[in-house]
């Protein structure tokens, strides 16, 4: 058994009592063995120091991404992990990530609520002109709102008697027949340099 094996066994506590006593005796007289044990002590000290530093290294970003990944597993695991990865790349801590998530959720909820509530409660502006028709209180009357001018004139309204409208009988006169039988003017498309506009043939 070489000295390295003996040291390893000694360090692992696998030496028998006889081997242990002879090993300790040889350590006292053998400077080479002493140097090996000393180097082992240095190795352990170096490893211990480095390990303690690495043990204290902040791994909150990894933890954040893990939790995000777990939370998103039910829906889409990859999106959660990617979000966390982006956050990590951006240098966001776990607390920042959580705070920003809460903020974004509350903002989007607020925006959703605002849009829907304003849609329901949007009033008609009485001062604005609207084009449209509405039935008056009486079912026989039809109210037509005509847009007013840009000036401050109020919108002109015309109340038409509904019954009268329906009772109107159109009779076809000779003039109407002439208009119906008359051939329409031929249309010709002229490719002028200015515009493609139809021109009536004379």
């Amino acid at each position: 058994m070489n000295s390295h094996d003996t040291i390893d066994k000694f360090l692992n506590g696998t030496l028998s009592s006889d081997e242990m006593s002879s090993f300790l005796e040889s350590v006292e007289h053998d400077p080479d063995l002493q140097a090996l044990l000393e180097s082992d002590r240095i190795i352990n000290s170096a490893v211990g120091k480095e390990k303690s530093i690495l043990m204290n290294h902040d791994l909150s970003s990894v933890a954040g991404s893990f939790v995000a990944g777990l939370a998103a597993t039910s829906a889409t695991a990859t999106i959660g992990m990617q979000t966390a990865a982006y956050a990590k790349k951006a240098g966001m801590s776990w607390i920042t990530l959580t705070a920003s998530t809460i903020l974004s959720v509350s903002l989007s909820a607020g925006a959703y609520w605002y849009i829907h509530s304003s849609e329901k409660q949007q009033p008609m502006n009485p001062n604005r002109d609207y084009i449209g028709t509405s039935f008056a209180e009486s079912p026989n009357e039809l109210t037509i709102t005509v847009p007013a001018q840009v000036s401050d004139k109020p919108a002109a309204t015309k109340v038409v008697q509904r019954k009268q409208q329906t009772q109107t009988v159109h009779t076809i006169t000779q003039q109407d027949q002439q208009l119906l039988t008359e051939k329409p003017a031929k249309m010709r498309l002229e490719h002028s340099s200015s515009k493609y506009r139809p021109k009536v043939q004379e």
């Binding site: 390295h4 094996d5 040291i7 390893d8 000694f10 360090l11 692992n12 506590g13 030496l15 242990m20 300790l24 350590v27 002493q34 140097a35 090996l36 044990l37 000393e38 180097s39 082992d40 002590r41 240095i42 190795i43 352990n44 000290s45 170096a46 490893v47 120091k49 480095e50 390990k51 530093i53 690495l54 043990m55 290294h57 791994l59 970003s61 990894v62 933890a63 991404s65 893990f66 990944g69 777990l70 597993t73 039910s74 695991a77 990859t78 992990m81 990865a85 990590k88």
Partner: protein, 204 residues
């Protein structure tokens, strides 16, 4: 008295750090729960392995930021396995360290091919995060880096992650004797290098 010249403390088990006991059957069951969507099981594995995976990666790639990314990638990959039909994983620890190992190797390969020597930042210097380390201790770290990847991996799993050699053998699917031999050889190399430095130091 200088720190390096302290009398040698002859204590057995001087190497031993935390001694995790791997109970594969229980772990395999918990891991199956984790993969089937149990968040408590997931948190158990995260607490048990996250730091060890980080230590392992940090020492293998010599860059704590890359190690963080790799550790995160390991968890991402495991989470992606959730709710998928998977054969039962009998050795979850070994499974996770294998993922980490492959990612570390990929990182080292990529680094070899793409980063010129001048472009290596201070972050890549292995002893950057050890402001109070002595010359001897720095020598230990650089000596560790000169070992073969497999030998270095063994020592890292033993000295940094705190696994016993029989546990490492179980994780890697190798015989404990083979692991013991390899680890002893690697440790002997480290000792010899440090011993030479001590002799030089004493002469000067």
């Amino acid at each position: 008295m200088d720190e390096d010249q302290k009398p040698i403390e002859l204590k057995p088990n001087a190497v031993s750090v935390e001694q995790p006991r791997i109970q594969h059957n229980q772990e395999a069951q918990s891991f199956a729960k984790f993969l089937s969507g149990d968040d408590n099981a997931a948190m158990y594995f995260f607490r048990a392995y996250n730091r060890k995976l980080f230590l392992y990666c940090a020492k293998l790639v010599n860059n704590i930021h890359a190690a963080e990314d790799i550790t995160q990638e390991v968890w991402e990959r495991i989470i992606k396995l959730r709710n998928q039909s998977q054969p039962e994983i009998a050795n979850p620890g070994g499974f996770m360290f294998t993922i980490a190992r492959n990612l570390c190797l990929n990182h080292i390969k990529l680094k070899k091919h793409t980063i010129p020597l001048d472009a290596i930042s201070e972050l890549d210097i292995p002893h950057e995060y050890q402001p109070g380390s002595t010359e001897m201790e720095e020598l230990v770290h650089s000596s560790l880096d000169t070992l073969k990847f497999e030998d270095k991996e063994l020592l890292v799993l033993n000295m940094y992650c705190g696994y016993r050699f029989d546990e490492i053998a179980q994780m890697m699917g190798m015989s404990p004797n083979a692991i013991w031999t390899r680890a002893s050889r690697a440790r002997a190399q480290l000792r010899d290098r440090v011993k030479i430095m001590i002799k030089r130091d004493n002469k000067s």
